[in-house]
């Protein structure tokens, strides 16, 4: 299906559809449901240097057209990911995978990336400087252009793989953060992570989430994400990956028109675990209807 091919930081993708980190585990839950080789790639669960339990439960709340999560970066740590998850992944996924990395210091980001750099199946390092859930954690890096640049520089010195900086929308000026990352050597930008949010239980008058606040995702955030992708894509020359509330083939095309060369799909996987497969299958018909021959031709095509 050549019509769907796109390129991301020099690596060819069969299509632009990429399940987003935190909604797809390390792949095998979904490999039981469909052949995940039909994806462009996927971004695996955010990985830190040490194993993390994450936040207490409840970690999940609902919103109109979306959901809040405060999982708090639960993951087995980079050593276990390399020793256990990646060998398992090799048996069900035969393409370069996007490794999502989180950290609580510049040194931690670099240490995790250095270890993942040696893994042949890792195609890209997606560096999450935006997770809003962890106290005193990633938040500060993604909200300050200088800190975002510091992480980018540290990561770039330990890897030869393409580095995609994943930005937080919880900022006043997303373009300044994106430009700082680009100037520090980022090979790509992905955006947006979740929006800082909360819900209160009317009966108990307490926050629904044990962590009090969490990240909003789902269709509710799509227009915000689209606007930020549009702004960033016009301001940087590196590839931009768009995400935030994407739930349909039409949403994928809209994100690409705004300037995304590939599109991640997050919360929608949790509501419909087959959604990425369906979107990939539906894209050609939607493209026909809209007079699009090749997806790569429409990137940034909105005027």
């Amino acid at each position: 299906m050549e019509r769907l091919n796109v390129s991301l930081c020099g690596i060819e993708l069969d299509n632009p559809v990429i399940p987003a980190s935190g909604t797809f585990g390390y792949g095998h839950e979904f490999a039981e449901l469909y052949d995940i080789d039909l994806l462009g790639t996927f971004s695996f669960k955010g990985t830190t240097l040490l194993p993390r339990f994450g936040n207490e439960t409840p970690r999940i709340a609902e919103a109109q057209a979306g959901m809040l999560n405060a999982v708090g970066l639960q993951n087995p740590g980079v050593e276990a990911v390399i020793a256990e998850e990646l060998p398992k992944l090799k048996t069900c996924f035969h393409k370069p995978v996007m490794a999502n990395v989180s950290g609580f210091s510049v040194e931690e980001y670099a240490a995790v990336c250095k270890k993942l750099d040696k893994e042949p199946q890792v195609g890209w390092l997606e560096v999450n400087i935006s997770c809003p859930n962890v106290h005193g954690g990633g938040m500060s890096f993604g909200t300050d252009p200088a800190q975002a640049a510091a992480v980018t520089r540290a990561v770039k010195t330990v890897t030869s793989k393409p580095v995609i900086m994943k930005l937080s929308p919880n900022v006043t000026d997303i373009v300044s953060v994106a430009k700082a990352c680009e100037e520090a050597g980022a090979d790509g930008i992905s955006l947006i992570n979740t929006l800082l949010s909360m819900r209160i239980d009317l009966r108990t008058r307490r926050p629904v989430l044990a962590n009090v606040t969490g990240g909003l995702s789902g269709p509710a955030v799509f227009p915000v994400a689209l606007r930020m992708v549009w702004q960033v894509a016009r301001a940087v020359s590196v590839p931009v990956v768009g995400l935030g509330g994407v739930s349909s083939a039409e949403d994928v095309i809209e994100m690409m028109l705004a300037g995304a060369c590939a599109v991640e799909i997050g919360a929608a996987n949790l509501r419909d675990p087959w959604i990425c497969k369906k979107i990939i299958e539906e894209l050609p018909a939607v493209m026909d209807r809209l007079g699009i021959n090749n997806l790569r031709d429409i990137i940034g095509g909105a005027r």
């Binding site: 935190g22 909604t23 585990g25 839950e29 039981e32 439960t57 709340a61 996987n269 509501r271 087959w274």
Partner: protein
């Protein structure tokens, strides 16, 4: 896990807040008592996880409590409505260790999955005692159905308006059983865990994102490591449970 479209045959009131949903559709994804389904509702982003009360080929029974806007919306759906379900979620109860005379212990809306369990246990030739706890006589449901299966049923009410006065644990003294299977609110499970003797399996509830192990929204700590209530649970063995402080 299997996705299947179901049709509502009946959505009827059992008590003030409890409803029985009788559905037609492909139940082949459901393999063990204690599993749950995750139900999509129009206009709601997250699915609603509901335990399986009973299944047969082409028929599914769910019992749910109206606890919020989502289940309130569900309670208004008429017969004929189509529902998108993810079926066969979670590990369910292990029946291999039931022994000769297992005990099932249920509290309120934790009772439904024990019905399917009891039916399977009795079909396997076990002698089942069921302790079913409610707040008050007006909230009692499904006790006759347990009796019809052939179970020895003991009912407790917290206010003493029917059966044994008190909680399910007040019915335990004097009972002999090979193993217990429990489902109910967490305070009940904790009391059962403390007071019931012998091996046990307890089914837990948690707010879920996906229901199939992808989002890590429902993780709990156990003696044997972190477990996802939706995937490695909802049933945990007595000896692996760690209670939150």
């Amino acid at each position: 896990m299997k996705q299947a479209d179901f049709t509502i045959l009946e959505n009827k009131k059992l008590t003030e807040n409890v409803r029985l949903l009788y559905l037609q559709g492909d139940t082949s994804g459901i393999t063990r008592p204690g599993q749950f389904v995750n139900l999509k509702l129009e206009g709601r982003f997250l699915r609603r996880p509901l335990s399986v009360c009973d299944r047969e080929d082409g028929r599914l029974t769910l019992i749910y409590k109206i606890t919020g806007a989502g289940t309130g919306q569900l309670s208004l759906l008429p017969a004929g409505t189509k529902l998108d379900l993810l079926t066969g979620l979670g590990n369910g109860y292990d029946l291999r260790e039931a022994g000769t005379d297992p005990l099932v212990i249920g509290g309120g809306v934790g009772i439904p999955p024990l019905y399917y369990l009891t039916r399977e246990l009795i079909a396997a030739g076990r002698k089942v005692t069921a302790v079913l706890g409610f707040n008050t006589a007006g909230e009692i449901f499904y006790t006759d159905e347990f009796r019809s299966l052939g179970a020895n049923v003991l009912v407790t009410t917290a206010d003493g308006s029917y059966g044994i006065r008190g909680f399910v644990t007040d019915a335990l003294p004097g009972l002999d059983y090979s193993v217990y299977y429990a489902c109910g609110p967490e305070p009940m499970l904790k009391a059962v865990w403390q007071k019931a003797k012998g091996p046990g399996q307890l089914s837990f509830e948690e707010r879920m994102g996906c229901g199939f192990g992808a989002c890590m929204g429902c993780t709990c700590r156990t003696v044997t490591g972190y477990k996802r209530i939706c995937k490695e649970g909802p049933v945990l063995r007595k000896e692996e449970i760690l209670w939150n402080a």
